[in-house]
Symmetry: C2
Subunit: 289 residues, 2 copies
């Protein structure tokens, strides 16, 4: 979709449904997106509609502005459709974002182990290449679909729509959408999630919220991860919390170690509470507000 960062329409997004360990073999779909509004699905997905209107005057500036508006508008409309689909089905979905290697998949492994018996769980995995993360999630016994973005730098709403169709989550499920590891671009793309969770690893340094404010600004929850490594780093936690206070106005902040399990209880409690709230609100969604 984005024409210069590599997430272009010809970027060859691949979607692989791994199911759960012991189930059927992975099923890979290739989706080459040649033009806005035209998405080729190997099998049934949420087909986006094109509302493109060619302009009478082919002036370049006007075309660029209208192209940008169309692309973002298209993603936002598809994101709202995802939001409606999730609410209609009674599913709580969250968008999990961070730099590469901040601990998203490790956190999911620990979370699946804790909550698998509490309610149904599923994962949509985003990576440029490989199914490494989806294999890890599958080994943890969870229903998972891998989206490979090729050169693309973020997930978009239409990819998530296909992923949701594949995993077919049951009512009452929690769906974790693990975005491509990138502290910049994913912030700008609504996927239809009910909540945004951003992980900041202490190994990245305390000033990342100030340097990459867009990612933190709209977060609902920020997990400061890898706190087990604090004794070996010069990370200034107070300064980090100060930067977060400046840019993340409504986010809760928790300190955790996904690797050791430290601090994960408040995260599990947050998940349970937000799942309950989202599901109780979902029924009212079409009625107004």
């Amino acid at each position: 979709m984005c024409k210069t960062c590599g997430c272009s329409d010809g970027a060859q997004t691949r979607i692989t449904h791994l199911g759960v360990a012991g189930g059927a073999a992975p099923d890979t779909l290739e989706s080459s997106r040649d033009a806005p509004g035209r998405t080729h699905h190997a099998h049934g997905g949420a087909e986006p509609h094109s509302h493109a209107h060619p302009h009478a005057e082919p002036k370049e500036g006007a075309h660029l502005v209208s192209l940008e508006a169309r692309i973002l508008d298209k993603n936002d409309r598809l994101a709202e459709r995802n939001r409606g689909w999730l609410a209609g089905r009674g599913v709580f979905a969250l968008n999990l974002m961070s730099s590469p290697g901040a601990g998203k998949t490790t956190l999911l492994e620990k979370t699946l182990a804790e909550l698998a018996d509490a309610f149904p769980l599923a994962v949509v995995e985003g990576d440029q290449e490989t199914t490494h993360d989806a294999e890890r999630i599958r080994q943890a016994g969870c229903n998972v679909v891998q989206i490979n973005t090729g050169q693309g730098c973020h997930l978009e709403a239409d990819m998530v729509a296909q992923g949701l169709q594949e995993i077919d989550p049951a009512a009452g499920s929690v769906v974790f959408i693990e975005n491509v590891g990138n502290l910049v671009c994913p912030a700008l793309f609504d996927l239809g999630e009910a909540a945004r969770v951003v992980i900041l690893a202490v190994t990245e340094g305390e000033d990342k919220p100030a340097k990459y404010p867009h990612m933190f600004h709209d977060a609902d929850l920020i997990l400061i991860n890898k706190i087990d490594l604090l004794p070996y780093l010069s990370f200034d936690l107070e300064r980090c919390l100060g930067y977060l206070h400046e840019v993340a106005h409504h986010a809760e902040v928790l300190q955790i170690s996904a690797a050791t399990g430290a601090g994960l209880e408040p995260w599990f409690a947050w998940l349970r509470a937000h799942r309950e709230r989202t599901l109780s609100e979902a029924g009212k969604m079409l009625a107004g507000s």
Copy 2:
């Protein structure tokens, strides 16, 4: 330039020349890029030419393809101009890339301390927001310009052209271009550098070269950083080197700790050797090859 990842023409790139510690106050230029081929410079820079040709038929698909080609072609042409400018002046420039917080600025601080007496050094700093990194470089006594990309996810050749004009590097200099912390998008944008250096921190996990191959594929040098933390991590160095071997076909690989200084001698030697080679080849550049 990129219309959806936030690095759009209206993303309000800001360029701040900090000079060196004890020098004049920072000088900030605002550069709002409204349309391809039209870059407003607050003062003299390398002005790009527009070669846009409106199409007779305003078909959407055709417009998208030609727009993408024009944007990438424009960056590549400006990158070649930078390459010529650097060669003509006798300056060795490298493009330093990594995830956020992988240690780029710490490495530069250590490098400036070691090599400041050997030859002139300068730094072009790229970040979405703040001048934190440029302040650190300035404190280290080095000539530095900060480029803030706003919502943008990578540096582009025209930003670097402006930065180079600002720092005005002397013949024989080494210029470090510290890109925006992002393991995805910067890989696609030639800046005119003579070499690409990619840092991978062991805290990010050993599979990042497989998951983000585009960044590693064109690297000339890969620095595996934060090796002082290996005793506290489950990082598998052999697997990491295996992944690098698969995707980075011509890169040298060094293991370092920018924080402790471990393993930095081979990096300094690499810099000296590549500076010498680049400067000796620069004179032949216009003659052919």
